[in-house]
């Protein structure tokens, strides 16, 4: 986008540059030109008075379903949902069909996302071929083809021997392994958190220790391999404690939390609500508070949604049979703002967990308002309220536990490389 755009009088928050002040943001030819004063005249002006202006959000954990399950979501619908939620970069998990376990699929996704042109899409490559947990993928070629990290997400890298090799090999080249930490022997057949709720429903539970034991094992292997290890969607108190202690020991262990894990508990599944079913499941209040404490003290550096769109047919078959996952892109920001309202995080710290922190972890080069970077911008009104309506969701997936609930905080504008891609409640283009 050529010309000069002025975003006027907003509260500009750029955690990477420690900026939090009401001022102007200048964009020239699609790049950030200046925060504050600038020697030039604006061709266009967006008045951001009373709003927050921050780097476009980064969601490092989404499922876009393309290729393979386009009836659930595709790169275009997922990109539209992303920008509606203020997200300008996202990392898509490899459990597509075919999987992102060879270069062709990664290249196809990157190309398709460019064609759609709304949101940066960075694929995450599979750790093992066919996600079957046995043979490593060609990580170097996947990396050259755009993959920014490696994961078998949806499934754990289950066998300890394979995980050791994956950590050793990937770290030889500086790559990050993202683990869906779940000891399947302990969670088989489970649909919800194991505990009082699963007992009352008569539904098989997934114990917290299924997650904790895998994280504990992986941390030992990470130490052995001197590798980089990232726990996806951490949901348990035990897991948060393990990561905190590993980081205190100086290991390169990081983790992310999904909004549903710090906003909701297992109580949501009472009444057999399959729109509150995901893996890992919603846990207890103690776990929820531990995740919040992890976010507060920095153990959890990243907020990522695990956006998992499903068709209603996959959800309307009973809690035990329903597919795992909920959509998250469009509710990520308002749900996370509760952390700010609750005094857990400063606005800047919350934004960091959805911008510069994941960008640094994955080497994306985005997530800041530094001069010269692509002007990927999110503008939101932190006080505006709206009601979640599943039918009004931009994503093809309507599987949200927040249907009918009030959200506080609404994205008003999203810009990608200086171009408006979302404004006035509508995706542009």
């Amino acid at each position: 986008m050529s010309g000069i755009l002025l975003i006027k009088n907003g509260r500009i928050i750029d955690p990477a540059n420690e900026i939090d002040e009401v001022t102007n943001l200048w964009i020239r030819d699609g790049k950030v030109a200046a925060v504050g004063d600038y020697d030039g005249a604006a061709d266009e002006v967006i008045d951001a008075t009373g709003k927050v202006v921050c780097p476009g959000l980064i969601d490092m954990h989404v499922h876009l379903r393309e290729p393979g399950q386009e009836w659930k979501e595709d790169i275009e619908s997922g990109s539209r949902a992303a920008v509606a939620g203020g997200v300008t970069s996202m990392c898509c998990m490899p459990n597509t069909g075919p999987h992102i376990d060879h270069a062709g699929v990664a290249l196809q996704i990157v190309a398709r996302a460019k064609q759609v042109g709304l949101c940066n899409v960075h694929p995450i490559g599979a750790v093992t071929k066919n996600l079957d947990g046995k043979e490593l993928t060609e990580m170097r070629e996947l990396s050259r083809s755009g993959c920014v990290a490696f994961s078998d997400d949806g499934l754990p890298i289950w066998h300890a021997g394979v995980m050791r090799k994956a950590l050793e090999y990937s770290s030889s080249f500086g790559y990050l392994i993202i683990q869906h930490a779940e000891e399947k022997d302990l969670t088989a057949g489970g649909a919800v958190n194991e505990g009082w709720i699963s007992t009352q429903l008569g539904v098989t539970g997934m114990p917290a220790v299924g997650e904790d034991s895998m994280i504990a094992r992986d941390i030992m292997l990470t130490k052995l391999a001197n590798a980089r290890y990232h726990v996806a969607h951490i949901s348990t108190k035990g897991g948060v404690d393990l990561v905190r202690s590993a980081r205190a020991d100086g290991l390169m262990v990081t983790t992310e939390a999904a909004p549903h894990h710090f906003a909701l508990t297992e109580e949501e599944v009472l009444g057999f609500n399959s729109d509150a079913k995901m893996s890992p499941p919603l846990r207890t209040e103690d776990d929820r508070l531990a995740v919040i404490e992890g976010l507060r003290d920095g153990t959890i550096e990243v907020i990522a949604t695990d956006h998992a769109p499903h068709h209603e047919d996959d959800k309307r078959c009973g809690l035990s049979c329903a597919a795992f996952g909920i959509v998250g892109l469009e509710t990520m920001l308002p749900v996370s703002l509760d952390l700010v309202r609750g005094g857990i995080l400063s606005m800047s710290d919350m934004i960091a967990k959805m911008t510069c922190n994941p960008a640094q972890l994955l080497g994306l080069g985005s997530g800041t308002l530094s001069e010269g970077v692509d002007a990927d911008i999110c503008i939101f009104d932190a006080e505006a309220t709206w009601i979640v309506d599943r039918e009004a969701m931009v994503s093809k997936g309507k599987n949200t536990p927040w249907h009918g609930k009030q959200m506080t905080g609404q994205v008003t504008h999203t810009l990608k490389a200086g171009r408006l891609v979302f404004a006035g409640g509508k995706v542009c283009g």
Partner: protein, 331 residues
Amino acid sequence: MRPLKHLFGIADLDREQIEYLVNLGDSFIEINRRPLKKAPTLRGKTIINLFFENSTRTRTSFELAGKRLSADVINISASTSATKKGETLLDTGQTLAAMQPHVLVIRHSLAGTCELLADYLPNTALVNAGDGAHEHPTQVLTDLLTLKQAWGSPEGKVITMVGDIAHSRVARSHLLAAKKLGYTMRVVAPKTLLPSQIERYGCEVYHDFDAALPGSDAVYMLRVQTERLTDSCAFPSIREYHEAYGLNVKRLRAAGSDCIVMHPGPMNRGVEISTDVADSAKSHILRQVEHGVAVRMAVLAALCGGHAEEKKEGSRKQLSDEAMQAQGTLL
């Protein structure tokens, strides 16, 4: 009393409703013992028994209950139904509901089957005849009628339930009923057969059967699903299970002379219960079967009556837009 629209589980019933159904069941026992076992109560009503899991006594007792009250009763078992052709549970339910039965009685291995269907079948009363490990309300109402006959009231009594509590819908329904009616449940099993945080029902938890026996007013043995036991490493062998948790004459004696024996059936003789106990005078097992018919008559009568009333009042639950649409697209 709150009218009954459905019977999903004991969880949704209050004490008054439970006692009403048990007492109504009590009044129906006599019909079943008559030479001519027919009452006109449900004439013109249609009842479909939709069973996705094998069942002899529950299905037969629902069928007899409907027929003895003059309803038209259809039985559908999963082996002959469209589900084999890949039809979803929801479609099967909606298809049958479109034929306008008054009551759909459902047994399915999926916990929450009735809750799932209810949103889409607004004009049909649903009865849970067992959903996974969730609830089996008519079994518990049956047991409560048996206890009423034996004791007058279960209040203050101790029922010791033994076996695979983790997978038992009967156990969950009893644990809920115990709180509402004021009796004590003792559950007895190794930890491998107890669900997480079972004590939060307010029950007493034992691993040692012999320790649980003194003071028991009834010993309620659950059927052991032998394949489930050994496949899941819940127990090393049937032999050891019987030694630890089988009810025999010696154990029954330890419980006291007034202690009665119950079992939801079908029994594994020599596994959870020995033959001499099963056939003893202390055994109320066949009475439970008999009362099962009477209680199910009560449930069907209450639902059909309640339903007609509700229609008159026009107080039927408003359909959500989504359910309307779902219904619309199907029809």
